[in-house]
Amino acid sequence: MTKTRYPEFDVMREQQAWDTHTRAIVAKRLETPPKSSADKGAWREEERALLQCVLTHLLYEDRDEILSFVTGHFEQTLGRRYGEAQRKRSTPAQDQLVAAGLDALDDVAKHRHAHAFTACETEQQYGILHDLQLGRLEAVGAMAQLPQKELFTKLLSLAAEAYASHPTVWSEMGYAGPAYPRGYYRIESGLRDPWEPVAERNEEKRDSKNGNDVQERGRSN
């Protein structure tokens, strides 16, 4: 089930109720193409295409306007001066890690399937990323020098924070968005403020198939 429970909801309909600073920041994410990626221009078109292809798998998402925002977030984050909060010893700085990592994915794709990553079959691409997460890729080409799990974690975390910041995704999650200056008033169980999303009524009853099995996972490091 990857469909929204709130097909009628658009969080941007409420933007006039937000403070202007927040509104400007959020509205800009809907611009296509985002201005930010245009003026940085540090990335080659092929790099952008390869990243976007990786993102379709990481985020299970194929909408261009969302993916180009996420790609823009990569360019902006990796292009700025200040740091990345934390980095493990022997892991390259994030801009080098991602740039080298994208090249390395191509090297692995050519080694495994005799094609560039973007030219591989969907299943083949997925298989490469699956093995990257587990640190099981062949140490060929640029991949020989890279910490695979760190690369996967960096790609996924940068992708995820941007994805969950896109207003279209907010609407689909049923997140009612920024609320200053008005605030939230009906916060208790079963209550909602008038501008909050309502789940579609005739939605099929979806129950967790997995029942009680708790999935405990450590960090992927």
Binding site: A24, Q86, R87, A164, P178
Partner: protein, 557 residues
């Protein structure tokens, strides 16, 4: 300020602030040519309280802060991504078997420090927290007791003022709090309390440094939910909006966007002031006393960098303990799926709490204990927990579409001090040529047993509330230690008054001095220690004159 989507020019902040004056340059410094009584490095929870107390007592005080002087009205947005800049983003090299997530997770940057982006949870430590060794045979005892801090806890709670329950069941303080508890709580907090009640576990509406009624022009909370992104209405306390403005009114000068790179000493081994950088330019501030309120990572980093023939292993480090016994709290998140909507985005993030498992219970098989909170979450934090657990692709998308049906319980668990967990200097250098901080951390067997117990308890609460436990995300929160206080100069860095054992006019005052972590949120204890330190410094300074020959007086007993 982050440039994420900000349509205009990057925000330009003033860097020099004193009563009646604000400048975007350092050409008109109030104390630029003089030796001040006290120079405080860091304008966070501790630095703010110290500056206010010392300036109001009539001392000449300069506070130097690496980050900007935020303006809540124009700098803060109701947006997670763009507000990551409130954290200390500079790269730290992390290692150990449980490498820490830094930045916004545990350290603040800018005037107000961590109080700008903390959740506002305001808890006292318990009596046992100060005596873990003598009571439980683990950790070390503090050189001060709960009774030493009690008057400062009370004063700080009144000053902010804290909202909380009429009766608080655990520890030595049972309420009432100065302001009434928050009268509406979120669906997530309701579910938490329902689950606790079904299991016979006592719970309360959380004591918070967030207003439940108006105070001095600040409005009560509107449940906007962005405590971690900076409070726009100023309903949540921070030293940015409370202590620092009061310090400035009392005569203090605040220098922001200024990074201290060196503490200077003379031949007698006394501190004479600090060197700092602004816009690539080097400056100095001379001072009779220097207080490092620069938290758990940057304080050891600075001390370890300040080597000389007199201090070959770094300033104030004859014990070798600078940087050692650094502790986070274990802070695993337990997510449960409910049939009904919980909507984790609504309301103050933490509105319900239990400390039923705070004290040591030998039957559990580990020492010390923990606090559990009902803890809300907005989309970026929510997805961050999922991807940290290795979830991606279709499964990630599916969980996001169920966001509104998830509830969450968060652990704040005690982590025992261990010398292997430490802040050191990495080989790699930053843009100023300074060696980066390296932060190594691994949990002990006791820590892991505590976590396992807490995770099971969190999941039982979720189940008892009618939810289905689904995901456990390993995480940490807060940092303590690295320059611990103690009576013995061979095993600690500062004494009970936060004065460095090795340097008579250097103080270290922040969570860095905690000998143990406690099992609850640390901010109130940081501020109580700072208020006590201010009192002790004032007592000591009373007996001195400004003549250099008499500058250093003996410590007040």
């Amino acid at each position: 300020m982050s440039d994420h989507g900000d349509p205009g020019e990057p925000v330009k902040h003033h860097c020099d602030h004193y009563a009646g004056h604000r400048y975007d340059h350092l050409k008109r410094r109030k104390f630029g040519r003089s030796e001040v009584d006290v120079c405080i490095v860091g304008a966070g929870a501790a630095g703010g309280v110290l500056a206010q107390r010392l300036a109001e007592a009539g001392l000449d005080v300069v506070v130097i802060e690496a980050g900007p002087y935020w303006d809540p009205a124009t700098d803060f947005a109701s947006d997670e991504l763009s507000m990551q800049a409130l954290g200390w983003q500079e790269t730290r090299i992390v290692g150990g078997s449980d490498p820490l997530k830094m930045g916004h997770n545990n350290s603040g940057r800018g005037v107000g420090g961590g109080t700008v982006h903390f959740t506002g949870v305001f808890l006292r430590f318990h009596e046992s927290d100060f005596q873990t060794y003598s009571r439980d045979g683990v950790g070390v005892d503090w050189p001060i007791t709960y009774d030493d801090l009690e008057p400062y806890y009370t004063a700080i709670e009144k000053e902010i003022p804290v909202s909380g329950p009429r009766f608080f069941p655990w520890g030595s303080f049972h309420g009432p709090y100065p302001y009434p508890e928050r009268d509406r709580v979120s669906a997530n907090a309701q579910a938490f309390r329902r689950g606790c009640e079904a299991l016979g576990i006592r719970s309360v509406v959380t004591p918070l440094a967030i207003l439940s009624a108006p105070f001095e022009g600040r409005p009560p909370c509107i449940n906007r939910g962005f405590c971690n992104q900076g409070c726009k209405p100023n309903s949540k306390f921070s030293t940015l909006i409370h202590h620092i403005p009061q310090a400035i009114r009392a005569g203090a000068e605040v220098l922001s966007d200024c990074t201290v790179t060196q503490v200077e000493t003379d031949r007698q081994g006394q501190v004479t002031g600090v060197v700092f950088y602004h816009d690539g330019q080097e400056y100095r501030q001379r001072a009779r006393y220097v207080v490092l309120s620069s938290f758990v990572v940057e304080t050891p980093r600075l001390l370890l960098e300040c080597t000389s023939s007199r201090f070959p292993d770094g300033l104030a480090n004859s014990s070798g303990m600078v940087g050692k016994c650094m502790m986070p709290h274990s802070s695993h998140d337990m997510y449960g799926l409910f049939d009904e909507e919980i909507r984790l985005y609504k309301g103050t993030p933490v509105l319900a709490t239990t400390q039923e498992f705070y004290e040591t219970d030998p039957a559990r098989g580990f020492a010390r204990g923990y606090t559990l909170h009902a803890h809300g979450s907005r989309p970026v934090e929510f997805i961050g927990g999922l991807v940290q657990s290795g979830i991606w692709g279709r499964e990630l998308r599916e969980i996001l579409m169920d966001y509104n049906r998830f509830g969450r319980v968060t652990l704040v668990g005690e982590v025992l001090p261990n010398e292997q967990n430490c802040v050191t200097l990495a080989d790699e250098k930053d843009e100023y040529g300074r060696r980066r901080a390296a932060v190594d951390f691994s949990y002990s067997a006791n820590d892991n047993a505590l976590i396992a117990h807490a995770v099971e308890m969190g999941n039982r609460i979720i189940s008892a509330a009618g939810g289905t436990p689904k995901y456990v995300v390993a995480d940490t929160a807060h940092l303590m230690g690295g320059c611990r206080m103690g009576d013995d100069p061979e095993t600690s860095v500062v004494d009970a008054d936060c004065k460095a054992h090795d340097v008579p006019n250097l103080y270290i005052c922040s969570a860095a001095v905690f000998p143990t972590s406690g099992g609850g949120n640390p901010t109130e204890t940081v501020m109580a220690v700072a208020a006590r330190t201010a009192d002790r410094m004032l007592e000591r300074l009373k007996g001195t004159t400004t003549e250099p020959s008499k500058r250093v007086a003996v410590s007040v007993p």
